[in-house]
């Protein structure tokens, strides 16, 4: 997979469970346990440095400081035996040469920034005294405490209720404008992508199938999987039978020669089962991995209406 991200931009990585979207993020942070996993080839260039070539020590300096991450489950990603204040201060002091008092001031600032009322008091409390939404705010505060240039958010709102999800997305958008952070937003929910991203990368079975900016992907999707994904969304005006993608995702433990999506694809031909399509740029900043969606050949999309 390939993508690039500019300062202050948000890219969405969207895919279903097992599509490898979370692996991507851990690869960037260098958190993939090795063995069994390893980055086979390629590079991750962050501000001119190739992260895959850095030592563990150098990586540790970047992690949490310049690149930080928000995880899916706010209930388990905070350590229950330390106060919230402790956990924020720890991160700040780990990466910045400040004394305890300055770190504390900074922690209070951060809690205020993410919209937690009475931050001085909340600093002394333990994670179990916070609700789900508040914990996710704390996670964001920790992630942003060192002014990272890149924030990786792995399903940050999946475990939250819709009304709280709306708050958190709003908060992330506001903070992004204020702090000029770039965000990689990993999600299974296209709605979240429409809400918060400029670019989107669609993954299927560990591979990128389409990469475009959000408006382009919505108006002019090219990969048959993206079509299926868009069609399967239930919208406020959906009636009648839901268009769905038949079949199930492939079992990646088996060797698959051709396009991973071919067995579920209505447009698949013989070539699709034997040869893996490369990701190619078919129009400006729009890449797709399909044998029959190229610069000079297009499939006709059937079933499920395109968007207006």
């Amino acid at each position: 997979m390939s993508f690039d991200l500019r300062q202050g931009e948000t890219i969405g990585i969207v895919g279903e469970s097992g599509s490898g979207k979370s692996v991507t993020s851990t690869a960037i942070l260098g958190l993939i346990p090795s063995p069994p996993g390893k980055i086979e080839r390629g590079s991750i260039v962050f501000e001119g440095k190739d992260l895959t070539k850095l030592s563990q020590d150098e990586m540790r300096k970047i992690r949490g400081n310049e690149i930080s991450m928000i995880f899916q489950d706010p209930m388990t990603s905070l350590n229950p035996v330390f106060t919230v204040g402790n956990q924020i201060i720890e991160v700040i002091r780990l990466h910045q040469q400040v004394n305890k008092k300055e770190a504390r001031t900074r922690a209070i600032e951060m809690l205020k920034l993410v919209g937690i009322p009475e931050p001085e008091k909340r600093l002394e409390q333990y994670p179990h005294e916070f609700s789900g939404g508040m914990r996710q705010r704390v996670m964001i505060a920790i992630a942003l405490a060192c002014n990272p240039k890149l924030l990786i958010a792995d399903e940050p709102t999946t475990a939250l209720d819709v009304t709280v999800q709306a708050q958190i997305l709003e908060l992330m958008k506001k903070l992004q404008v204020d702090l000029k952070t770039s965000i990689i937003m990993i999600t299974h929910d296209l709605g979240v992508v429409w809400e918060s991203c400029q670019k989107v990368l669609v993954m299927y079975a560990g591979n990128t199938v389409e990469y475009a900016n959000v408006e382009d992907l919505y108006q002019n999707p090219l990969h048959p999987y993206t079509w299926g994904l868009l069609d399967s969304q239930i919208k406020s005006d959906t009636v009648g039978k839901l268009p769905s993608i038949p079949g199930n995702p492939p079992d990646l433990r088996n060797e698959i020669a051709g396009c991973y999506f071919a067995p579920r694809c209505a447009y698949a031909q013989e070539k699709c089962f034997t040869e893996r399509p490369p990701l190619v740029e078919v129009s400006l900043e729009h890449m797709v991995a399909c044998h029959f969606q190229t610069a000079d050949h297009r499939l006709k999309r059937e079933g499920g209406e395109a968007s207006e």
């Binding site: 690869a27 069994p36 980055i39 590079s43 770039s182 433990r253």
Partner: protein, 299 residues
């Protein structure tokens, strides 16, 4: 906004390698584990020894030959020498395997069955049943095993069956605890609620759904405790509370051997070695079984 802050170029992570193959059966995982294999071989040898004892033994185990007492290993066709009554030590150890295995398996079977049943009831019904059963188990746990055995033997008299009974009873609380813990976890699984919603009664839920899902740790615990039971049997026999002479038992050979430790160390050495190896075998096998059944499981 045009400065290229981050650029991530082709990275491919082998996903397939990350997933552990589930198809590997328990058996195949067990065979891959070298230590478990060693354990399995030891157990297999023990089983062969006890089943074919009359064929393997070079002499009748109880045949005394006072003229040749305490002979060195290798002398006169006595592979491991003879004991203080001139009985062939090798043959006695072979026959002792029978006793050790019978006691180990039946005692754990007995304790396991009763303990599992009690644990199931305590864990599933909870409340006062749980309180009564588990306090009883605590009491049993607190009672020293040897004292319990002495008391039982005094009342019932020594003998193979009573040895099994004593060791079995001593093993009840351990099983009860482990099963109760498992039941408490499995009880909360959604499929148990599903089964209730289908209209199933308690016994069906307990025996068709909860018990099978608690089996893995029970089997592992039982295997490990066979080793414990073998030691217990040896200990009881060593104290003269176990299998009565002249029947050969590792513990009683060890006991006889301790009087001749300086003169003829082979008696105590070989019987002790037999105990050590069998315990090691069951423990290695149990460890391997645990890893094979569920790598995440902790007993």
């Amino acid at each position: 906004m045009s400065n290229q802050a981050q650029n991530i170029s082709p990275v491919s992570v082998p996903l397939a390698a990350k997933k552990k193959s589930k198809e590997n059966s328990v058996w195949r995982r067990l065979l891959k584990n070298k230590l478990a294999l060693v354990g399995m071989i030891i157990i297999a040898i023990m089983v062969i020894f006890s089943v074919f004892a009359p064929l393997i033994a070079t002499h009748p185990p109880n045949a005394m030959d006072l003229a040749n007492s305490l002979s060195e290993p290798g002398v006169d066709g006595h592979i491991l020498g003879t004991d203080n009554y001139g009985r062939d030590l090798f043959s006695r150890i072979i026959y002792g395997t029978q006793i050790s295995l019978i006691v180990g398996i039946f005692a754990i079977g007995l304790g396991g069955m009763i303990g599992t049943l009690l644990g199931l009831v305590a864990g599933y019904y909870g409340g006062k049943w749980d309180a009564i059963i588990m306090r009883l188990m605590d009491g049993l746990f607190a009672f020293p095993f040897i004292l319990l055995s002495i008391a039982l033997m005094t009342v019932l008299g020594a003998g193979l069956f009573n040895v099994i009974l004593a060791i079995g009873v001593a093993n009840i609380p351990g099983f009860a605890r482990i099963v109760r813990g498992q039941v408490l976890a499995v009880k909360e699984e959604e499929y148990i609620e599903v089964t209730r919603s289908l209209g199933a009664n308690h016994s069906r839920i307990i025996f068709h759904h909860i018990l099978p899902n608690c089996m893995a740790p029970i089997i592992v615990y039982a295997t490990m405790n066979v080793a414990g039971a073998i030691i217990s049997e040896a200990a009881l026999s060593f104290l003269g509370l176990g299998v009565q002479p002249p029947t050969a038992s590792w513990g009683s050979i060890l006991k006889d051997g301790k009087d001749f430790l300086v003169l003829s160390p082979h008696m105590a050495t070989f019987s002790g070695l037999a105990i050590l190896l069998s315990v090691l075998g069951f423990n290695l096998f149990g460890d391997g079984l645990r890893d094979a059944l569920d790598p995440k499981m902790k007993v």
